[in-house]
Symmetry: C2
Subunit: 392 residues, 2 copies
């Protein structure tokens, strides 16, 4: 059998994320690994399961059947031997430390959707979070995802209730494509309420799974699936997460893979944000993001993309020297005052105060009447005054 067929056979006979398979594949070819597992001599539990799953069939029949089923189900299979394979997934072969229950590069992805997964994920970011999210979290995920789609970025998520669904919907409504990585076969719509959403996703993006059709999602499969979400994107944004959330595990894997981990902050009074705030406290470095532009900025080569924060207008007074600013601050607003008193308040010599006051008058900040100065009622103002100027 060719490498591709061996990978498909392995993925049909073993559980994704299996340590034994990942370790063997780091040493030898998929064909050899398949032979090792099916030979009677090998007695690891992975090998026992593979033989139980194969039964009396031949691997090649298993593969043929799967290919036929996939085609019938409007799906395709993509392995590392295919052009559509996103190279970024190969980083998962490095995921070998003891804390990882699940490891390894996926053997085969079942994909449904019009878009090429490799091209789709070239400029992509994972946006994930709690299923039991707050309306704040859903709103934040939708806005960010919409903004990312606007900027031509693909949003990757897990298709779950809550933040995941908001992320997919925001991307679709923003006219973008989105990738949904599932924890069961792509024929199995879970949750069932997302049938229409998954259909919409497949029209411009892709539904992706490591599990063959017919497999149902299980709790541990979500954890296995999460490493694929973390690996596919350039970074991972966590919008809301409880203390023991699967999203935090995804973020940990993303950090291990040297992806940028970002969190969307929330109120400290919200249980739904406890997990993201914990993430922000380390140990891995985490970026705080509040707008799609910041996500793009954090994922782009330094200095390439940097949008000014909204509302950051300059004020007319920004152009004043510190001394002139002190003089202006010392000009009364309701009554007029002499240059001498203003100079004393500002801690500026009188000769300088005279000169500065003359300039403030000609710039329209200050009015003068009979040698007494007062703030102009029509003085220049910023377009958007800040709510907190830092002093009265």
């Amino acid at each position: 059998m060719e490498e591709r067929d061996c990978l498909i056979a392995l993925s049909l006979l073993t559980e994704p994320g299996d340590h034994t398979v990942a370790t063997a594949l780091a040493e030898t070819t998929p064909g050899d690994v398949l032979e090792q597992l099916l030979s009677g001599g090998h007695d690891s539990s992975t090998s026992v399961v593979a033989r139980e799953r194969l039964g009396r069939r031949r691997p090649v029949d298993l593969v043929e059947e799967a290919v036929t089923d996939a085609a019938a189900g409007d799906a395709r299979m993509v392995t590392r031997a295919d052009a559509e394979w996103p190279n970024r997934l190969d980083d998962l072969s490095e995921l070998f430390d003891e804390s990882d229950t699940f490891t390894g590069t996926p053997l085969c992805l079942w994909i449904r959707g019009v878009a090429d997964l490799r091209r789709l994920t070239e400029q992509s970011v994972a946006l994930i979070g709690a299923r039991a999210c707050s309306s704040y979290g859903a709103h934040a995920a939708t806005e960010l995802s919409h903004g990312l789609a606007d900027r031509g970025w693909t949003v990757i998520s897990g298709g779950a209730f809550g933040i995941d669904a908001a992320a997919h919907r925001g991307a679709l409504n923003g006219g973008g494509s989105t990738v949904c990585v599932l924890a069961g076969g792509i024929d199995h719509v879970y949750p069932a309420e997302h049938a229409e959403l998954f259909e919409r996703i497949s029209h411009t993006g892709a539904l992706v799974s490591e599990w063959p059709p017919g497999q149902t999602p299980r709790r541990y499969r979500f954890l296995v699936r999460n490493r694929v979400i973390a690996a596919l994107g350039l970074g991972t944004v966590v919008v809301e997460a409880g203390l023991r959330s699967g999203s935090r595990q995804t973020a940990r894997v993303a950090a291990e893979l040297d992806r940028t981990v970002m969190i969307v902050p929330g109120p400290i009074t919200s249980r739904s944000s406890v997990g993201v705030h914990q993430l922000a406290r380390g140990p891995a470095p985490v970026r705080v993001v509040t707008r799609a532009g910041e996500i793009v900025e954090d994922l782009s080569p330094i200095g390439e993309l940097c949008e000014p924060p909204p509302g950051s207008t300059t004020r007319p007074t920004d152009r004043l020297s510190p001394e002139a600013g002190r003089v202006l601050d010392s000009v009364p607003i309701r009554s007029a005052s002499t240059a001498a008193r203003i100079a004393a308040q500002a801690g500026v010599p009188m000769v300088d105060a005279d000169r500065i006051l003359a300039r403030l008058v000609s710039a329209g900040f200050v009015e003068v009447d009979d040698g007494r100065f007062q703030l102009s009622r029509h003085r220049p103002r910023a377009d958007q005054p800040s709510p907190d100027p830092g002093g009265p």
Copy 2:
């Protein structure tokens, strides 16, 4: 005149934060600096202002008058020559880069309050933020400050409306002491609505100002004052801040002084949190804090203090092996299933599945009836289930 009197005279004749004074004091004694400023040969604006302020009086008379006034006003003066001087303020002499409009160690502090400022600030943290805060921000500041007081920490703030007031009140209500650093003379209650609050503060803590009585707060004085808030504490916590907030300037100074800068996150939809989230994006490193315990943790030597996050209970299933976890996840909840089917779903050899199922039954997780397995309705649960277990 003694060093102390020279410092008092300098502080009466020059504006706090003055670059010329700070630079001169780095080179020579307060007495020499005073002489330089008052000698006709020096024509810096600082010198001109000092001579204007002094008029025809002698420096020694000015000092005597100030000491008498302070005593009459129930206040005291503290300079670096006094035992009550908080040594941490000396770090401000290092604040000399060009971006600092205001610099230098305070020359003299006017203090009203029963507590010794040095001892009061030994274990202290600045808690500051927007005047135009949200109710969320005020609540967060009050809670954190209360918690800090509970743990024996002094809260330093600026006595303004909004976050500052909430910080002071939280500390007082928590039975703690608080320090209020003002931007005008301590005889000048600003804002006037805080007369009672300032009175309460003076009963267990201290009101502090670099300005002599009679001086009124001015916009630029708040910026000068902010460096003292940043220097007095071991760190600075910003609760809410607009984009152009004075609190962000305080945080920048704190970072320059190698103090720990912390932010309290808020909703990304709130204008009041824009400034803190910007701070969290750098360039200086910033810690995200959500509880008083985390603030104490971030200010304490590594490993000395670490409280577990609330709600971080372990679950009975945490003790299961990954394989047993997968078996448990594959046991149906509503209908019973055979060991063979459960083993196939879990990807575990049948011989292992049998053994694991037997153990799950004896631990109370699973019920068995006529060789078919089902999740126990009375299975062990955690005290506090998380809202987001990361999978169905």
